[in-house]
Symmetry: C2
Amino acid sequence: MKVSILGHGIVGKGVWEMLRSNQGYEIRNVLVKKGEKTASFMTESFETVLEDDSDLVIECMGGIDPAFEFTSKCLEAGKSIISSNKALVAAHGIDLMNIARRNGKAFLFSAACGGAIPILQNLCLARRTDEILWAGGILNGTTNYILDSMDRRGMSFEDALAEAKALGYAEFDPTADISGLDTLRKIMLISMVAYDVLPNSDYNIEGIQNVSALDFEVAKELGCTIRLVGKCGLAESGRLYAYVQPVLCDMDSAYSGIRSNINLARYEGKNSGLMSFMGQGAGRYPTASAILRDVTSVADGQKQMLTEKCLVGFPYNNSKECERNYFIRLDASTFASQIGSIPVKKVICEKGGSVFAITEAVTVKAMHDLAAELRRHGAKLFFAEKKED
Amino acid sequence: MKVSILGHGIVGKGVWEMLRSNQGYEIRNVLVKKGEKTASFMTESFETVLEDDSDLVIECMGGIDPAFEFTSKCLEAGKSIISSNKALVAAHGIDLMNIARRNGKAFLFSAACGGAIPILQNLCLARRTDEILWAGGILNGTTNYILDSMDRRGMSFEDALAEAKALGYAEFDPTADISGLDTLRKIMLISMVAYDVLPNSDYNIEGIQNVSALDFEVAKELGCTIRLVGKCGLAESGRLYAYVQPVLCDMDSAYSGIRSNINLARYEGKNSGLMSFMGQGAGRYPTASAILRDVTSVADGQKQMLTEKCLVGFPYNNSKECERNYFIRLDASTFASQIGSIPVKKVICEKGGSVFAITEAVTVKAMHDLAAELRRHGAKLFFAEKKED
């Protein structure tokens, strides 16, 4: 197979190395940024790639612009596309699937969710004969590294983030990781593959920007730790729910066992039961290994991971399936003045000027709305779903 | 697709139910045992299946005879085969692959290893572009249920086994589970898929028949528990190693987190890193869900999980890659008289007339040979690999 690659950064270079050492693949062109051409196999001109005789183009540029323009032009020109770019697929996955179908070409994106973990391709296969009740997990290595470091090594948020950056886990601008947006994009991809729905607004998202050392102190007293989890599934109504939020989990739960920058992707099939996949969620070779599995799948004749039914939809986080008890930390003065609006089940303790409590079961939407309302009035608040399993 | 099913037991009935509720599949015949035909879709005659117009036959009979005769005749008659029968595939997988290739038909067997867990198909894909350094895990739900019950609920081996039988996890004759043979067969399948080698003799295998409540008591004092693990991989020489044995693992290892009858299948890819898959390793619907994924793969055009290079080979458990420290329990009198032949690194304690110790690093083969030799002289011995990670 003749292959060209868009991008020669962390992932692109890994793909290039792996393809070179695999027989059966000929690399045509590697697109690099202006001024970064340092070898004859590189080109700074996208037109060179567009006009070469490659059958397959692997996009590892990141970002939406010009990745969308380049990938859609390649598909229109009769080249298949494999992408590791979650921002691109979350924004334009349905468009690219439609262009690919129109041109009879492949469009796969395993590496855009879960790094080396084959969650998307497995969901893709399983959903055709099983009912996927829900799917999600720990899908961002940077935030997991920070939370695990705060928990097991007693680090502050700032120190843990600085270390994650130094180790190359966190981007220079880690906002998308910390805010939960990166996890949300992966949930979008999972939802598209498992449910034919891209939940692109009205979702509930809470990252780890509000977690503190004190939260881990109290969590530990409860025999728990904290993880950032994304999830989507089908409510009884048949509508989709999708959200991202911190979770307070028992030390013997599968979530707590996920250390460092490892990812845990799970789904529950009506027939298969709970399936869990753990592995490297990012990094040069793990991500490149997922891209090469897709290359093999294209060689085997697979064309799409999305069905033609895939559409934009609106998640419904206010259903019975989305009722959770929450662990909350709230500054003592807000707690005292707003006690009437907070569905407290049990106060755990008062510590460092904050009250820690467990709420009654409320929907995800109700909790996120309440948090937004309290913060609008200046409250200092952290909340995490209290997992019961 | 037109499908017939051989067998209507635990798995066969699950497959029948799932296929009936999936559009796109027409069930032709279901072969049942003599005297068990209770509905018109059933037949007691294999010839009826052989002569029907099914494209695909799903074998869920178990056992080797007549399963091998029936599946090879179906392939010769131009029908594809999906099997959940690990004994059959371990004994005749290479034969069936050859017959299938000769006739241009498919032969898949995902459900024969790991139940619902898609370990074989993922290895099948990953090995084509990555180097699989080793593969294996906790692959038998019955023994894991027994070990977990002894550990967490303080049950005796006999009571835990009786409960596993009552819950339908253990067979009426659980010898193949307890002895490690069932795990070994799954390792054989993994090795065939990942390495093109069926290790069919000279392997080292130790089950859980010698584990006692006392072993768990001492393991707990060391902050550990005990699991039964199978593993295969490539030694530096390029030769395959393969074995099954109990493992003493720290409470925060992934193995210890595997509870009840859950399975954990893992592999380490040179590029992907460590990949772990957890899920139901047995049971009607989990196993049927794996068969239905294979049905979908056949519909997509997949023909084989084994390459034509797959051959019988001999594992090599005496290599550097197979050096382990072992946790051993030995009756005090044998320990005293045989001390010269046992590579003791450290004595842990003496308890209930037995000595507990950790050995120096020795190869798997050396430890299994030593155990056989000591038992030949009447020693009461339990041993488990001491995991360092």
